[in-house]
Each structure stands twice: as structure tokens, then as C-alpha cells.
């Protein structure tokens, strides 16, 4: 009980801080807005930094009271400007006599460029709602009181209802506190990762969060919103086309088509809620070609300046892309088809619930009996109102998952790339990964050459020299010659050792001899950490895949040992059947999971190792997904499509 009371007190405190945040929002905006709009920029950093004190307090209290760690997501403060040798301060291409302005400008850039600033403002606005679960023991009785009073229950019933809900609120206080603490963390904690590996990562996280937190009905409601937005967008496009082609206001045409693509983009990203992934269908804008005579050529036309050439090119690019016209059809039809698919379940739920609430509101204002409203008249009997409404809502919830799937299919129908475009994109992607691959191969060859040159080659030369010495000494000083022989043997052994290292870096012998599974087991044996290995792999994979997988796991284990301060690592390898992880893939997928119990917080932006991993696997269309919250555990999931699995074959030319 005391724990519950303490949770209630903690929730109350956090809620008071949230309310205080909302109260501060007014003054902050009063100071901040003129700064932004009237050019009084020196007003900008002050309030924003002051706000950080408040949010910092909230972070600390959230940690102390609810035990939920909230990261401080701010970029570090810029260092004070340093004068140049001549005493002036330089910022960009201007010189200043005093440090004041460069410092102010740095601070403005710092504050405005930081996403966390805007998250702070968002928190101030939303916190009184988001932190509500923290004060459930107050909220529940208040709600009960309101409902009961409007239903004109007898006083005794009201009293007991309030008491019961207050107790229930108290019982729920700890989970309410956690929920509001999580809200603070979401808004004030920022995101841990960004950059190229993170795209995968962010995607992964969003999907997981959405999967956990929101029901199909909520998702459909948001999708319904996009269908509604499609109406004005469609009207604007049609207007642009009519005015453009009809009245010759040709500049409107690409605007109406290309600049309004954000809606379709949005829809494509939301489609993953339906379990559908829709790649972007647009062809890339071709590069502008300058002829030897300095003119720019677009189609059959020549232009003197790049400005018009670019415009025309964009025009042709938009008009000739089939995706443009498919999207136009989508914009026109989605409010009807998509709206219908998403709308039916949402409306059933809204109608069902609204039917319960509306009569009470009407009753509150008009005073007439709620039975005469809504379901009371709709179904014919006042008593049928509640079950009727609930049944409608339940029906809506029940059909929502199916509607969501259908909706995804509908979105894909017109928004996915046509065959040509998909092919063009694939070519683009392959060109990139081929460049990556040849780069990597060239780098690797250079490294091997250097290793051989610095190591074994030099040793063998020294060996030859020693043999020369021995030859000179063997008749005159046999004892010294003998001693040199011993050293020569050692030098030979050393050269061999270095050669072994080089070979191991190119293609580990155990990988050639035993294949991936045993090679990873051998890696685990060599690691300074306690590594458990769980491998379900019956076949030999193609050699390049095995090598890429081996070195990726090696890199991951190395990272765990070097950076993560981990004690134990679990490595799991399995072969997922075709299409298991990615419906686009037509072969099996090798999945490698490396999980350690270290301190977490791995960030691809800091480590070239993780990016190197992504590149190494990217050559084979593989992906890297990293989940590494501060405090751990770190989990690295690497997926590598293997087009074909070959049986055990004879291996590399290296011989033992």
C-alpha cells in the first residue's frame, strides 16, 4: 500500500512539473516568437536554454521517482569563438571585432539546429495530457463523478462510486507512474541512433513501437486522414493540369505533380503498418548534359543557361515517369476506395462509442432523458442502446485487421514502382554496390601487398643475408656459424608466423576446411569473452557469402570485446527459408545475431566498424540492424541473402 501511495505522490510531482511546463510555455513563446519573426535573434537562445533547466529537472526526477532513465539528447554547447592571429573574430565570411556576435550566432545555430529544442517545446505543450496516467487516483474519481452527476445518480451511489474508483486509481498508481515516465522519456529522451545503418534501425524501432502501442483501428484512422488529405491534393493537381495545359501556364504542371508527392510518400511509409513495403517508384532525375560547345541539351532542345534546361528537364522527367500518372489516379481514387476501406471500421467504432457519450452530453445541456436519443430511437428501445453501441464498436475492432491488410494491398496497387522503374532502380543499386565491392577488393589487395611487403618478404631477405654470413663463417669460425644457423631457423619460423597471419586475414584456413559453422565456433574459442554459439546450418554456403558472414561475426565479436565491456556474447546463426525475412528475396536468408551483455549505446555514427559491416554486407544486399540502448544489451542482427546453397565443394587454391 505504501508503495502505491508513494507512486501516487511521485505521479503527482511529475504532473505538477508538467503543468509548470505548460505554464512556462506562454512566457517562453512571448520572448521567443519576436526573436524568430522580428529579427530580434538575440532573444532566441536564452529561453531555450532556460527551458532545458526545467526539462533537465524532469529527467532527473523521472529517473529518481520512476526509475526510468531519460537520456539527455542535446548537442554539446559550441566552444567560445577564438580570435584569429590579428585579433579579429571570424565567422563564415565575416570578421568581427568582438566575440559577442559570433558567439551569439553560434549559440543560435546550436539551439535552433538541435532537434531536442523542438522536442522540449512539444513536451511543454503535451505533458499535462501525457502525464495524466501518473495521477490516476485523481483522474478516475473525477471522471466517475462527472459521469455519475450527469446521470443523476443518488448521492450515496455517487459517493461509493468515487471511493471505488479512487481505490482503483491507487491500485493502478505504479503502472500509471511508469506510463507517464515513459511518456517523458519518449519526448525528452531523443533518439539514440542516426546514419546509414540507422535507417534500418529506426525503421525497425518504429515498426516495433507501432506494433505494440496502437491498434489497427488507430492506424486505420490515420490512414483515413491521408485519404481525406488526398481530396484537396487531387483538386490542386487537376487544377494545375487544366490551367497548365489549357491556359498555357505550363509552370504549374510539374508543381502539381512532383511537389505534391509527399502525400504518396507518406502513404508509402504508413503502408508498413499493413505489413506491406512499397519502395519509392520514381525514376531518378537524369543528370544535366553539357555539350562540348557549352550548351545544355534536353531532348531535342538546346539551352544557353542551366536554369531553363533544368526546368525543362524536370518537366520531361515528371511527365514521362509512369509513376506520376499512376499516382494521379491514386490521388483521385483513394478518397473513395481507400477511404471506404479505412473508414468503415473506424466509423463503426466511433459511432458505437460516440453513441454512448452524446446522449449524456445532450442530457447535460438540454435536460431531456438520454433514452430518447441516438440508439434509444435508433434501435427502438432505450435499453438496447448500450449493447447496440458496444456491438458496433466491437464489430469495427473485429474487422479492422482485415481492413488494414486490404488497405495495404490497395495502396500498393498504384503506388508501387512499375516493372521498368523497379528494374532501373535495381540497376542503380547494383552499380553502387559493384563500386563498393571493387573498392573493397582493391583496398584488400593493397593491404595484403603491404602486409607481405613489410612482414614475410623482409624476413626472407634477412634470412638470405644470414645464410650469406653463415657461408662466410662456416670454415673460419664454425661455432659462430652454428649460432647463426639457430637464429636463421628462428627467422624462418617468424616469417612463417607472419605469413599465417596474412593468410588468416585473407581467408581463414578453418573456414576453407570446415565451413562457416565450425569457423564461427573457432572464432568463439579464440575470443577473450565467453561466447556461446548456436548454429543451425546444414549446408555449405557459397564461398563469398561464407567469408562475408565470417568476417562480419568476427567484427561483431571484436566490437563486443573492445567497446562493449561485455562478459558474455551469444552468437546465433540460422538460415531462414526463402522470403522469410524479406518478401522480395528469392533465396534463403542467412541471419546472424550477435548479442552481448555489455553497456550498450553503440552508435554507428561513432564507429567505422559498424558502417564497414553495413558496407561489407551491402555488397550482397545484406542488412544490418542494431539495437543498442544505453545500458545494454546490444543486439546486432545481420541478414545476408544467399541466392543458392551449394553442397560442399573443393575450396581455395591455398594448400596446406
Amino acid at each position: 500500500m505504501t508503495a502505491r501511495l508513494r507512486a501516487f505522490a511521485a505521479g503527482l510531482e511529475l504532473y505538477a512539473l508538467s503543468l509548470f511546463g505548460l505554464l512556462c510555455l506562454g512566457p517562453v513563446l512571448v520572448v521567443f516568437t519576436p526573436g524568430l519573426l522580428l529579427g530580434l535573434v538575440f532573444l532566441i537562445p536564452g529561453p531555450m536554454v532556460a527551458v532545458r533547466r526545467l526539462t533537465g529537472l524532469v529527467r532527473r526526477r523521472t529517473r529518481d521517482l520512476a526509475g526510468i532513465e531519460v537520456r539527455s539528447p542535446y548537442a554539446p554547447e559550441p566552444p567560445p569563438p577564438q580570435p584569429q592571429a590579428d585579433g579579429w573574430y571570424r565567422r563564415d565570411r565575416q570578421l568581427f571585432k568582438r566575440a559577442w556576435w559570433p558567439r551569439m550566432a553560434d549559440r543560435i545555430d546550436w539551439v535552433l539546429g538541435d532537434n531536442a529544442t523542438w522536442r522540449d517545446l512539444g513536451w511543454m505543450f503535451l505533458a499535462p495530457i501525457g502525464a495524466l496516467p501518473g495521477v490516476l487516483p485523481l483522474v478516475l474519481p473525477a471522471a466517475a463523478l462527472w459521469v455519475a452527476a450527469s446521470a443523476q445518480l443518488p448521492d450515496a451511489a455517487i459517493g461509493s462510486l468515487v471511493a471505488v474508483t479512487a481505490l482503483a486509481g491507487l491500485a493502478l498508481a505504479p503502472s500509471g507512474l511508469r506510463s507517464s515516465a515513459r511518456f517523458h522519456r519518449r519526448l525528452l529522451g531523443g533518439r539514440v541512433l542516426r546514419s546509414d545503418v540507422h535507417d534500418v534501425q529506426a525503421d525497425h524501432r518504429v515498426r516495433r513501437w507501432v506494433g505494440k502501442a496502437s491498434s489497427p483501428v488507430v492506424r486505420l484512422a490515420l490512414l483515413l486522414l491521408t485519404s481525406a488529405i488526398a481530396i484537396p491534393v487531387f483538386v490542386a493537381t487537376v487544377a494545375a493540369l487544366v490551367l497548365g495545359y489549357g491556359l498555357g501556364l505550363i509552370f504549374l504542371v510539374p508543381w502539381g505533380q512532383a511537389d505534391l508527392r509527399w502525400l504518396a510518400d507518406w502513404r508509402r511509409s504508413l503502408a508498413q503498418w499493413s505489413g506491406v513495403s512499397i519502395p519509392s517508384p520514381y525514376r531518378p532525375l537524369p543528370p544535366l548534359v553539357q555539350r562540348p560547345d557549352g550548351m545544355y541539351r534536353v531532348g531535342k532542345n538546346l539551352y544557353k543557361t542551366p536554369r531553363w534546361a533544368l526546368w525543362t528537364q524536370r518537366f520531361y522527367w515528371v511527365q514521362t515517369d509512369p509513376a506520376t500518372w499512376r499516382e494521379l489516379v491514386w490521388r483521385g481514387s483513394d478518397p473513395i476506395v481507400g477511404g471506404l476501406i479505412a473508414g468503415v471500421p473506424v466509423l463503426l467504432v466511433v459511432y458505437g462509442i460516440w453513441g454512448q457519450i452524446l446522449p449524456r452530453i445532450v442530457h447535460f445541456f438540454v435536460g431531456e432523458s438520454p433514452a430518447n436519443f441516438w440508439y434509444g430511437t435508433f434501435i427502438g428501445h432505450p435499453a438496447a442502446a448500450i449493447p447496440g453501441g458496444l456491438a458496433l464498436a466491437a464489430l469495427g475492432v473485429a474487422i479492422a485487421p482485415a481492413a488494414l491488410r486490404l488497405h495495404g494491398r490497395w495502396s500498393r496497387l498504384l503506388l508501387k514502382p512499375s516493372g521498368d522503374t523497379a528494374l532501373a532502380q535495381r540497376v542503380e543499386q547494383l552499380t553502387l554496390s559493384r563500386a563498393d565491392a571493387s573498392d573493397a577488393a582493391a583496398r584488400e589487395l593493397r593491404r595484403i601487398e603491404r602486409d607481405l611487403h613489410d612482414g614475410p618478404q623482409a624476413r626472407l631477405v634477412a634470412l638470405g643475408l644470414r645464410l650469406g654470413t653463415i657461408e662466410a663463417l662456416i670454415d673460419t669460425d664454425p661455432a659462430a656459424a652454428k649460432e647463426h644457423t639457430v637464429q636463421t631457423q628462428e627467422a624462418a619460423a617468424h616469417a612463417l608466423r607472419e605469413l599465417r597471419e596474412v593468410v588468416r586475414g585473407i581467408h581463414p584456413p578453418v573456414l576453407a576446411e570446415r565451413g562457416l559453422a565450425d569457423a564461427v565456433r573457432a572464432l568463439a574459442l579464440d575470443s577473450p569473452l565467453t561466447v556461446t554459439v548456436d548454429i543451425d546450418l546444414q549446408v555449405r554456403l557459397p564461398e563469398p557469402i561464407e567469408a562475408a558472414a565470417y568476417f562480419s561475426v568476427a567484427e561483431a565479436l571484436g566490437n563486443a570485446a573492445k567497446h562493449a565491456r561485455a562478459r558474455t556474447v551469444a552468437v546465433r546463426l540460422d538460415l531462414l527459408p526463402a522470403g522469410g525475412a524479406d518478401p522480395a528475396a528469392n533465396g534463403d536468408v542467412l541471419r546472424m545475431i550477435v548479442r552481448d551483455d555489455g553497456r550498450g549505446g553503440a552508435d554507428p555514427a561513432n564507429g567505422s566498424g559498424l558502417r564497414g559491416l553495413a558496407r561489407r554486407l551491402g555488397i550482397f544486399d545484406g542488412t544490418v540492424t542494431l539495437s543498442s540502448p544505453p545500458g545494454g544489451p546490444t543486439e546486432l542482427i545481420m541478414e545476408l541473402p544467399c541466392a543458392s546453397s551449394s553442397p560442399r565443394t573443393s575450396t581455395s587454391s591455398g594448400r596446406d
Binding site: P509, V510, E513, S650, T651
Partner: protein
């Protein structure tokens, strides 16, 4: 002593034959490929087989697999495996049956003919000869919660040399202590690793195995 040799590189094979003959061994068969080795082992029943891990036709671990197979058919058949690189995985597979008479050495070790011949004799006599490289890798790792961890530093040193396959006398000479002291240490090691008194040579192999497994 009758030796069956398997090595696919002509130069190394001839060199080994010369070296062995010079030290009084009889090379009854010198195989070039995996199948030849299997046939030679079945035909000659040698006192020891000296085998390269990687042999044609697969050029993978054919030699090792044939040697292990031969030991299954004739338990205790002494096998000395040579390799261009040492892998704990293979060392463990060789030691797994615990019956001794195995060796696993880098090919470099033939450069020091005296030690190499010594290792062959040890293996042929039912002892072990593990490459110092395998042992060194294990020594660099400190793992908690393995029984080997309970050993004193001195006992670990003794176990390390024992793992290479040295006799008590050789260990005593190496560590500058009396043979009796080594005996006391080995008894301590066997006790801590839970190895009861039985055939002494066999216990040494088991201790080495425990040592290799301390990684897990």
C-alpha cells in the same frame, strides 16, 4: 619405428622422409592424398602416423578426418597431425577420446629437428604433443568459473607444459624445480580438476583436455 607419412607437397614429403630416416625411423608408406593415406594405414598398421591436415582431393581437412577415423577403428593408434596453422577446434577433436597418443604441431616445428623427433617419440609412446601456440592462446585468456581457474599460477605453468606433452622430468628441468615438486603440483592439478587416480599417462591427457575445455 614404422611410420606412415601423409603430405601432399613433394618437397616437404621428401624432406620429412630424409629427416625421419636420418633419425632412425622407417617410413613404410608416404601418401600423397587422403585415399592413399587411408589405404596405407589399413595395410601397414604403423607405430605412428604423421599426417598433414589438408590433403587432396578435397584440400580441406581430409587428413585430419582420416586420422580420426583410423583411431576409431584402431583405438590408441598414435597420430601426429601437422598443420600450417593451429586451431583449438582440431586440437580438441584429437584429444576427445582421451586415450592419448596424439600430437598436433605446426609444420614450422620440423625446423627444430631435435624437438620434432622428441615429439614423435612421445606420441608414439602414448603421450601427447600439443603445439605451444595452442597452449599460448589459452594462457592469454582469463576466464572465470572454469575449474582451471582454481589452479595456482605455478600449477598453471606446470599444466601448460604438461599440455604440450612434457614429462615430469622435462617440466622440472624447464621450471628449475625438483621432479618431486613437479609430482606434487601434478597431484594438486589432478585433484582440483577432479581426476581420480588411474593410469597416469591417461590422466595427463584428461588434464590437457580439461585445460583445452576451460575456454567453454
Amino acid at each position: 619405428m614404422r611410420v606412415v607419412l601423409a603430405e601432399d607437397l613433394y618437397l616437404l614429403r621428401e624432406g620429412l622422409i630424409q629427416l625421419l630416416t636420418a633419425h632412425g625411423f622407417t617410413v613404410v608408406a608416404a601418401a600423397e592424398t587422403g585415399p592413399e593415406l587411408a589405404a596405407a594405414l589399413a595395410e601397414h598398421e604403423p607405430d605412428i602416423a604423421i599426417v598433414d591436415v589438408r590433403l587432396p582431393p578435397t584440400n580441406t581437412d581430409e587428413g585430419l578426418r582420416i586420422a580420426l577415423e583410423a583411431r576409431r577403428r584402431r583405438p590408441g593408434l598414435p597420430v601426429l597431425v601437422l598443420s600450417q596453422h593451429v586451431e583449438q577446434l582440431y586440437a580438441r577433436e584429437l584429444l576427445e577420446d582421451g586415450s592419448g597418443g596424439v600430437g598436433y604441431l605446426l609444420k614450422d616445428r620440423v625446423l627444430n629437428a631435435g624437438q620434432f623427433v622428441d615429439a614423435i617419440r612421445r606420441v608414439a609412446a602414448g603421450g601427447t604433443a600439443m603445439d605451444p601456440d595452442v597452449i599460448a592462446k589459452l594462457l592469454t585468456r582469463a576466464r572465470p568459473d572454469s575449474p582451471v581457474d582454481q589452479l595456482t599460477p605455478r600449477e598453471k605453468e606446470v599444466l601448460g607444459l604438461m599440455a604440450e606433452g612434457r614429462s615430469n622430468a622435462a617440466i622440472a628441468q624447464r621450471l628449475f624445480m625438483s621432479e618431486g615438486a613437479v609430482g606434487k603440483h601434478t597431484a594438486g592439478i589432478f585433484g582440483k580438476l577432479g581426476l581420480g587416480p588411474s593410469d597416469d599417462d591417461n590422466r595427463r591427457v584428461l588434464a590437457v583436455l580439461a585445460y583445452l575445455n576451460s575456454g567453454r
